[in-house]
């Protein structure tokens, strides 16, 4: 009988994920009695590895933390060092960093939407199955992802773990001819990106309103990549240097990745959080693409994350075109600096959300201590909270397969590095 149903879901190894994690879910008598999203990947110890390293090595070492969002790690690292050493980069380098970040958001978001998340919403069990019915959609996604990769390759030297970023700017200026060629390709894809927003916003999405706090960087003049204050839709507005006074990282027994709270509560970072907090900074013509759909921002529906991601893809195309329009070669791609004993903070917006770094440097510019707070770590507590609420709202009396699929969808909304995968939950059900 449903009312006496006991369900125990143990997913000891989440397969096809970036990282190693598991899901434990017990349902007893119509209530969730136990829910843990566990991360048991061994600690990677990057913060300790950085100790003693020269500040110019930090962007290339931290880039290795992630193959999908290496630029984010580089950006937070160089901005922290530049703050510590009092370096002001040139407007040229600032623009190029925005452009590089556009590339990373494009490839990361397009990968997530087309190869990982969208099949869920249309009832396919993989991107390959979806491609058979919607080849043009998947082709469009691969085109957009490819454009992001090319931006990273031209600016960063290569698309995975780029190598051109340095404290003070860039090691080398990308050739004008290659940048102009990119501009032509981006212009050709602009309407495709707009169409993607319309398509995603009209996908069938569960109605599941939840209460959560969105946190993002806010810059007075632009949608943020590299600079801004940390703000929330609950009134927070602080400098990145004050992060540790408001945000707490803590261990939980079931995860080797730290959880994080803002003022003692779970919070959200990432595309939906950004669009929720900053939608007024997005151009009206992009927001107009949502007209007639069921999606509006700010949104309390976590399933609208994919629409936020699509909107940011369109923004990145527009922004990249704007930046490429004025691209010229600089006299010097970087500014020289003198290290000093000091502390610096870097907070930038990775595709998956705010990425905060703090470094204490010795006088010779080597790292004394490092602290890195990635977005997936910050979202973990919110993910568990969301799983609780979403599965209740969905109905715990649904069958095992339906519950598993809903749990997967919920987790994938966050595009977590630990689980940006398709159908990675293996369900083991025991009934008593």
């Amino acid at each position: 009988m449903p009312e006496s149903r006991k369900l125990s879901i143990r997913v000891p190894i989440l397969t096809r994920v970036e990282g190693e994690g598991a899901l434990e879910l017990d349902i007893d008598n119509g209530a969730i009695t136990h829910l843990k999203f566990s991360i048991f990947e061994p600690p990677r110890l990057f913060e300790k590895l950085l100790e003693g390293r020269d500040c110019q090595e930090v962007p290339d070492i931290t880039a290795r933390i992630c193959g999908i969002c290496p630029v984010a790690y580089q950006m937070s690292a160089v901005h922290a060092a530049e703050m510590a050493f009092g370096v002001t980069i040139s407007p040229w380098a600032r623009d190029l960093r925005r452009l590089l970040y556009c590339g990373e958001w494009l490839q990361s978001h397009a990968l997530h939407i087309h190869l990982l998340a969208a099949p869920d919403f249309l009832g396919f069990d993989s991107a390959l199955a979806m491609a058979k019915i919607f080849p043009h959609v998947v082709k469009r996604g691969l085109t957009l992802q490819g454009l992001g990769n090319r931006l990273m390759r031209v600016i960063g030297g290569r698309s995975v773990h780029p190598v051109n970023t340095c404290v003070g700017g860039f090691y080398a200026a990308p050739p004008v001819a290659e940048m102009q060629a990119l501009r032509v390709e981006l212009a050709a894809a602009q309407e495709e990106a707009y169409e993607l927003v319309r398509w995603v916003a009209r996908l069938p999405m569960p109605a599941d309103e939840q209460d959560f706090v969105s946190v993002a960087l806010q810059h007075p003049d632009e949608y943020p990549f590299n600079e801004g204050r940390i703000v929330s839709d609950a009134g927070l507005a602080i400098d990145s240097a004050d992060y540790a006074q408001h945000f707490e990282e803590f261990q939980v027994p079931h995860s080797t990745a730290l959880h994080a709270h803002l003022h003692g509560k779970a919070y959200l970072v990432g595309p939906l959080a950004r669009v929720n907090v900053l939608h007024e900074q997005l151009p009206a013509h992009l927001l107009a693409l949502l007209a007639g759909s069921g999606v509006q921002f700010p949104s309390r529906n976590m399933f609208h994350s994919m629409a936020a991601r699509a909107l940011e893809i369109a923004y990145c195309i527009d922004e990249a075109l704007r930046l490429l329009d004025s691209y010229t070669l600089p006299d010097q791609p970087y500014v020289a600096f003198t290290p000093r004993e000091s502390t610096g903070f870097g907070c930038t917006e990775a595709p998956r959300g705010m990425l905060w770094h703090r470094y204490d440097f010795h006088a010779d510019g080597t790292v004394k201590t490092a602290r890195i707070v990635p977005p997936t770590s910050q979202n973990q507590a919110r993910m568990e909270q969301d799983l609780h609420q979403s599965l209740h709202a969905f109905g715990l009396d649904n069958d095992d397969a339906a519950l598993r699929l809903r749990a997967e969808q919920v987790i994938r909304n966050y595009d977590p590095c630990i689980s940006c995968a398709t159908h990675f939950l293996r369900l083991k059900v025991t009934r008593t």
Binding site: G67, L115, A127, N149, C420, T422
Partner: protein, 150 residues
């Protein structure tokens, strides 16, 4: 006709074997000549995933060379994989690293495969990916077979 020979690998242990094959090919005089003439490109890629579809875009003929665990071939030997063998290639464990079989399947579905696609394996004796060096004794052999296409 433009041809690309793509060596797939990673810096880990025997997974470098595809790159080793490209190094061997690079020594061939006629390879250098065809590269200079702009009709042949050699590419070493580190776990390209779906970006493989980009890397072979614009080429009529593509030859992929990747490490394959085989005890039936001498270590380092190149051998052509048959289409039915491709289905046996392992799918990856990470979403961040789509495997060759998935890329080929998606490429076929979307009509993004080159007109002619050959896949070559470089035999490695066991799953040695835990060190930075190749299994002792692996020397790429059979490059001449790969060149039969010309």
């Amino acid at each position: 006709m433009k041809t690309a020979i793509i060596g797939i690998g990673s810096p880990f242990g025997d997974d470098q074997a595809g790159w080793l094959a490209l190094d061997a090919l690079q020594q061939e005089t006629w390879v250098k000549a065809q590269e200079a003439a702009g009709i042949l490109t050699l590419q070493k890629l580190d776990r390209p995933g779906m970006s493989l579809l980009e890397h072979w875009h614009g080429y009529d003929h593509v030859m992929l060379i990747d490490a394959v665990i085989s005890t039936q071939h001498a270590p380092g030997m190149l051998f052509k994989l048959q289409p039915e063998e491709l289905a046996l290639l392992e799918f990856p464990t990470s979403s961040h690293g789509f495997g060759i079989a998935e890329v080929l399947a998606l490429g076929e579905t979307l009509g993004l495969l080159p007109k002619q696609l050959d896949i070559w394996g470089v035999a490695v004796p066991f799953h040695n990916v835990d060190s930075n060096s190749l299994t002792t004794g692996i020397i790429c052999t059979g490059v001449a077979d790969v060149l039969d296409w010309k």
